[in-house]
Structures are given as structure tokens and as C-alpha cells.
């Protein structure tokens, strides 16, 4: 199976409470907490699209959009 390609990590900043769960459990350390105590994707190029941040986010603030090509978009 081809490696999934990231389109964008969408983080709803008004919903994020900066708990740091996504930062702690990201296997490739893509996310960080910024000065405003919100999660931000600082290294999206390292993302492997495992969606662990999206699945564990207690604030339902993260959506990992995967590039699925033109014929397979969601």
C-alpha cells in the first residue's frame, strides 16, 4: 500500500484547550503547543497520517485531511 500523503492538519483553535495529548503521542513530533497554549502543526512534512492526534483529541479540534487524489476525494 502506498504511503498516505497529508493534505492538511486542520486544528480548530477556538476548540483546542492546549492539553498536549496530541503533542505527546505524535510518533513523529509534528505538533507543538504555541505561546497561546494551542496546538499547532510545526512539521507537517513529517506527518505519517496515523491520525492518532485526531482520534485522541478530547476537544474534537483536530482533523487530518489526507490527499486522496481527484477521483477519491471526501
Amino acid at each position: 500500500m502506498a504511503r498516505q500523503k497529508l493534505k492538511e492538519i486542520v486544528i480548530d483553535r477556538s476548540w483546542c484547550k492546549g492539553c498536549g495529548i496530541c503533542v505527546h503521542f505524535c510518533p513523529t513530533k509534528v505538533l507543538e503547543i504555541d505561546a497561546n497554549e494551542k496546538s499547532v502543526a510545526v512539521r507537517p512534512e513529517d506527518c505519517i497520517c496515523c491520525k492518532m492526534c485526531e482520534l485522541r483529541c478530547p476537544d474534537l479540534a483536530i482533523t487530518v485531511l489526507i490527499d486522496q487524489g481527484e477521483d477519491n476525494e471526501k
Binding site: S14, C19, G20, M52, L55, P58, L60
Partner: protein
């Protein structure tokens, strides 16, 4: 459909504390509902009182926010009058097994087709951190300044003994596993109990020096193991996760239908 479409977004961001495991459980539950493709109109969420009970206000399904511990009786009423609806009851540990303990065992005994989710954070979070019947001994709480001495219930064993026909356990850390288990629990015909270990960083974590939400989740990861796994065999002190019971026994609404049929015949 994105899972956010299942929410009443006007109430967001939600009132749960940063890092509250209940949010993750809501996340897992919505994914289970999305994967099962259940229509919004075919689903009823009934809840009692407490942090966990706020779920019913956040989801865009039919919802009932009822009395403390009495979510299951209300859900029983809904299910009996509209048996085609899926009824899900998210409860906290105190809501399910202290205040609503009696309702819990009797709903399990009847084996009525309801999915009960026990969101166990081992504390009464909303009221300021009193210990609950699932705290267990040796826990610091505002009502136990010298640590608790009470033993805890084992939700899984209690549910099995009371007659629930589907009993499982997962944790907020194991989000994907929770979704898979919740899917099976919702599809199961009969009373399903899913205990999901949650974390309360504000009251339980701070009092018991367990650190922030992420380290409490690490605790779930380290101290649980799947039933049948090597890790559990080597260390039986770990909390077992997985599906413990999944049997087909007569379901209450179906049996009630039969009684209605018999009674209607006699009348004629």
C-alpha cells in the same frame, strides 16, 4: 460525514477541562456511530448527572438529560415505547454504580437492548473531587485526605454477574479499540456494558500526583493489557481490556412483544 457534523456545534468548545478523557470517549463514540451509518433520528442518548452526562447536550441526536443515576430507567422507558431506536447511555462511574447502582444491575438483569457506557475516571469531577465506588483503596480525594480505604467495584465482573449479555472494557488511550468495541456493543441485541477508563487531570490527576493528561494516558497504556495477551499472562495485576462476554440471551423488548401478542389474543 465528518464527526463534527454529529455535534451541536453551538455548544463548543465544550465545558470539559483540558485533557479530560470524556472528550476522547465522545470522539470514539461518534466515530463508532459514523462507521455504523446510524441515522441521527434513529439514535437516543440518555444521560444522568455529572461531567459524563454533558454528552447528551453536545450530540445532535435525540437526547435526554435526566436525573442523577436514573438515566437507565429513562432509557428503558424510551426503548420499551420505541424498540426500533438505538439507545445509548453514557454514565460516569458514580452515576452508574453509586447513585444508579441499583438501576444498573436491574437493567443488566432484564437484558434490555441498551448500550451503557461507564466512563470511569475514578472520581466525582463535577462536584470537586470526592472519591467514588470505583476509586479503590489508597487514593487521595477531597473526601479522603488520608487516602481511601474502600475497595472498588469491578464493573466488568459486576455487569457479568448481573446478567449483561455484552461486557467489555477499554481506555481513553486506546481510542481505536474503544471505537471497535462500541460498534460491537451498539450492534449487540441485549444489554451491553462498555467500561472505558478515562482520566480526570483536574481532580484525580492533581491529587494523586499522576501528572498531566498525557501521563495519565501513559498510565492507561502501561497498566492495562488485552485479554489473552502474553503481557497479561506474565503480569496478572494488569487491568484486562477487551470483550469479556458476548452472548445471545432473550432480549427484554422482544420478550415483551411476545407477551403483548399473547395478551391481545386472549382479549379477542
Amino acid at each position: 460525514m465528518a464527526i463534527q457534523d454529529y455535534l451541536r456545534q453551538r455548544y463548543f468548545p465544550h465545558m470539559w477541562c483540558p485533557g479530560c478523557g470524556h472528550g476522547t470517549i465522545l470522539n470514539s463514540l461518534l466515530r463508532a456511530i459514523e462507521e455504523l451509518e446510524i441515522e441521527k433520528n434513529d439514535l437516543v442518548i440518555t444521560s444522568g448527572i455529572g461531567c459524563s452526562a454533558r454528552i447528551s447536550g453536545y450530540v445532535d441526536f435525540h437526547s435526554l438529560h435526566t436525573m442523577h443515576g436514573r438515566a437507565l430507567p429513562c432509557a428503558t422507558g424510551v426503548k420499551l415505547s420505541r424498540p426500533h431506536l438505538n439507545v445509548i447511555v453514557p454514565m460516569g462511574d458514580g452515576d452508574a454504580l453509586a447513585i444508579g447502582g441499583n438501576h444498573f444491575i436491574h437493567a443488566a438483569r432484564r437484558n434490555i437492548d441498551i448500550t451503557a457506557i461507564v466512563m470511569n475516571n475514578r472520581i466525582y469531577g463535577m462536584t470537586g473531587g470526592q472519591f467514588s465506588p470505583l476509586s479503590g483503596p489508597g487514593v487521595n480525594a477531597t473526601t479522603a485526605p488520608y487516602k481511601t480505604i474502600d475497595n472498588s467495584f469491578d464493573t466488568v465482573k459486576l455487569a457479568i454477574a448481573a446478567g449483561a449479555s455484552f461486557v467489555a472494557r477499554s481506555t481513553a488511550y486506546h481510542a481505536q479499540e474503544s471505537t471497535d468495541i462500541l460498534k460491537k456493543a451498539i450492534q449487540h441485541k441485549g444489554f451491553s456494558v462498555v467500561e472505558i477508563l478515562s482520566q480526570c487531570p483536574t481532580h484525580y490527576g492533581r491529587k494523586n500526583k499522576e501528572g498531566d493528561a498525557a501521563s495519565m494516558l501513559e498510565f492507561h497504556k502501561k497498566n492495562t493489557a488485552r485479554i489473552g495477551s502474553k503481557a497479561l499472562e506474565k503480569n496478572p495485576d494488569l487491568t484486562p481490556r477487551g470483550i469479556f462476554v458476548d452472548v445471545d440471551t432473550p432480549e427484554y423488548c422482544a420478550e415483551y412483544e411476545k407477551i403483548i401478542a399473547v395478551a391481545s389474543k386472549e382479549k379477542m
